[in-house]
């Protein structure tokens, strides 16, 4: 048992931090100490954490820069919201429907990750980044012109406008182009978000420490050497990319089931979002899963906490970004941190162990 703990120490610490944060916020919620603005931020925050952690699988573990992560989130959001909307009242109870919605978001985002990954992963670096950016925008724009309605004759599709669906009088619009989906059941809760974060973390952290995760990291470090020891490069690149996309889909499910009206705008599913997630990942440390969680929390809450400062808000946000970047990555800051950590009694043993 002790050995088990030692081997999985990093994983357990990360899960512990998330659980601790959850408990603290739950207590604050129960005590009524949180503003409604803050409460409204909790579910999106959970979605952002999942997005940051899953993007880190592509950027940090696979070592490929993707700027289309929000596109996969978008697919998860819309497929699952569509599913939930047509099955409201059909699948009961609500939580069971939500579980199905999550699986659907996971599956379709993963499927698109696979389909897009096949041609795209032949590219590297900047080229890959640009093409993933383009695919993310394509996904968003296609959803913006998609009209789906339902009447007694069944489902109707159009990519022109709602009139050309030719719905009957009592027909119901399901996806209304740029206006998106309205009336998705509000299944997302903070607790559901917490559970999904934990599941995502367990999946990714265990994947990294597996045979397949090692293969992915070997490809990141040296493709030619990985091939020379028999690693199927295409297969493992696709596996990591699809898994990353599928988990972004889960974040999309969480996000969409928190909104009354789901629209695909640049802000929530466009490159703005993709870049924001990338900022979480880079700031928390490329390849550091725990860092992604922490930076997603700080950077989501910060603008809201600074709201009182109105005009200076984004200025301070930018300064904090720069300061965190320096604190995390500047060599002198790192050396300083290591000295500080070595002074703490709890970590002393750990650093001594390392030298052995």
């Amino acid at each position: 048992m002790k050995e088990l703990f030692k081997k999985n120490k990093d994983t357990l610490i990360t899960l512990g931090i998330v659980t601790g944060a959850y408990i603290v916020i739950e207590i604050l919620l129960k005590a009524g100490a949180l503003s409604s603005l803050f409460k409204g931020l909790l579910v999106p925050l959970c979605a952002y954490i999942i997005l940051a952690v899953s993007l880190n699988l592509t950027v940090g573990i696979l070592g490929e820069l993707s700027l289309g992560h929000a596109g996969f989130m978008c697919i998860g959001a819309f497929t699952s919201a569509f599913f939930s909307k047509i099955t409201v009242g059909v699948i009961n109870p609500g939580w069971l429907r939500f579980v199905f919605a999550i699986l659907i978001g996971f599956f379709f985002a993963g499927l698109f990750g696979f389909l897009i990954g096949m041609p795209v992963l032949r590219l590297k670096g900047d080229y890959l980044a640009i093409v993933t950016l383009a695919f993310g925008e394509i996904i968003k724009n296609i959803i913006n012109v998609l009209y789906i309605g339902r009447d007694s004759k069944g489902l109707h599709f159009s990519i022109k406008d709602s009139v050309s669906l030719g719905l009957e009088e009592d027909g119901q619009m399901l996806i209304n182009g740029a206006q998106g989906i309205t009336g998705t059941p509000k299944d997302s809760t903070f607790t559901a978000g917490f559970i999904l974060i934990m599941i995502t973390l367990v999946i990714i952290l265990n994947f990294i420490k597996s045979r397949e995760g090692r293969a992915v990291m070997a490809i990141r470090d040296n493709v030619i050497a990985a091939e020379s020891v028999g690693i199927n490069v295409t297969k493992y690149k696709l596996l990591a990319f699809s898994l990353s996309a599928a988990l972004a889909g889960v974040a999309g499910v969480l996000y969409s089931h928190n909104l009354n009206s789901l629209m695909a705008t640049t802000k929530n599913f466009g490159y703005n979002m993709s870049i924001m997630i990338l900022v979480f990942v880079v700031l928390g440390g490329i390849g550091s899963i725990r860092g992604s969680v922490i930076s997603a929390i700080i950077l989501t809450l910060l603008p809201e906490l600074l709201r009182g400062l109105s005009t200076y808000r984004m200025l301070i946000y930018a300064i904090v970004l720069i300061a965190m970047m320096l604190f995390n990555w500047a060599p002198s800051a790192r050396a300083f941190r290591e000295r500080m950590v070595a002074k703490l009694p709890f970590f002393k043993k750990k650093s001594a162990e390392k030298e052995v």
Binding site: V202, I203, N206, F207, K209, S210, R211, E212, G213, R214, A215, M217, A218, R220, D221, N222, I224, A225, A226, E227, S228, V229, G230, I231, N232, V233, L239, G287
Partner: protein, 256 residues
């Protein structure tokens, strides 16, 4: 008809880059258990020959047979599965993985469990990982790397990085091991140590070894037979002592 104890049989192997015939009509026949050297001046086509043997390049002409099986034109990973592993002239380790994990990547195709059992940490995951750890540690011990198992590969000193590359290649359980300048950058003492390690692993793992090397002490010390390349063509071949006495070889390569 290849002899039954021939492991690698290369016939009329050629490749051109533009107008340059980097490897021109290369013939090789390496017996099982042999320690064979491929030497020649810089730019003679030695590493290109390795890249042809391991499927990095596809030959324009010629046939490569490993243990009687035609492996010409196969992909690198298929050739590795067929039984050829290699090291690189410019070291190519997985630098951010630990020393142990570098070797475990080499074990990738010999052990298996499903993605699901990894994610859920099922007993099959634990069992197989334990076996992999054990096997990898055995290999690291052969090269005196067991104590560095949990360091990052990039933290190893240069000589140990070269050894780790060999350990990783051996993890794939090859029949034929290709070493591309294993002694490059090593001091005389390290080279001496490397020579005994190479002969030791040849016997311990029943290997056949083909190596490229510039260090004549190492070549003369452990290679049983040699092929000398010059401008992509075979200049001489035969037993080490004979070849090194060949006046043409001395002029082309060793200097007057």
């Amino acid at each position: 008809m290849a002899l039954i104890n021939t492991l690698l049989e290369v016939n009329h192997l050629s490749i051109s880059f533009g107008g340059l015939r980097a490897v021109d009509d290369l013939n090789l026949s390496i017996k099982k258990g042999e320690l064979y050297g491929l030497i020649g001046p810089n730019g003679a086509g030695k590493t290109t020959a390795f890249n042809l043997l391991t499927g990095v390049y596809k030959p324009n002409e010629g046939i490569i047979r490993l243990d009687g099986k035609n492996i010409t034109g196969l992909k690198t990973i298929e050739i590795n599965k067929a039984g050829i592993a290699r090291t690189f002239q410019n070291i190519r380790l997985f630098k951010d993985l630990t020393v142990l994990d570098n070797v475990k990547v080499g074990l990738h195709n010999l052990y298996s469990y499903s993605t699901l059992s990894a994610v859920l940490r099922l007993p099959s995951y634990r069992k197989v990982e334990k076996q992999m750890d054990k096997r990898a540690m055995e290999l690291l011990e052969v090269f005196g790397l067991a104590e560095s198992a949990h360091l990052k590969a990039s933290q190893l000193p240069y000589g140990k990085q070269r050894k780790l590359e060999i350990a990783r290649a051996l993890a794939t359980e090859p029949k034929l091991l290709l070493l591309d300048e294993p002694a490059a950058g090593m001091n005389p003492q390290e080279t001496q140590e490397l020579m005994s390690t190479i002969t030791f692993i040849r016997d311990k793992f029943n290997l056949t070894i083909l190596l490229i090397e510039h260090d004549m002490k190492l070549v003369a010390g452990i290679c049983e037979r040699l092929t000398v390349l010059n401008f992509g063509r075979v200049l001489a071949e035969g037993s080490t002592s004979e070849v090194l006495k060949n006046p043409e070889v001395i002029t082309a390569y060793l200097g007057e």
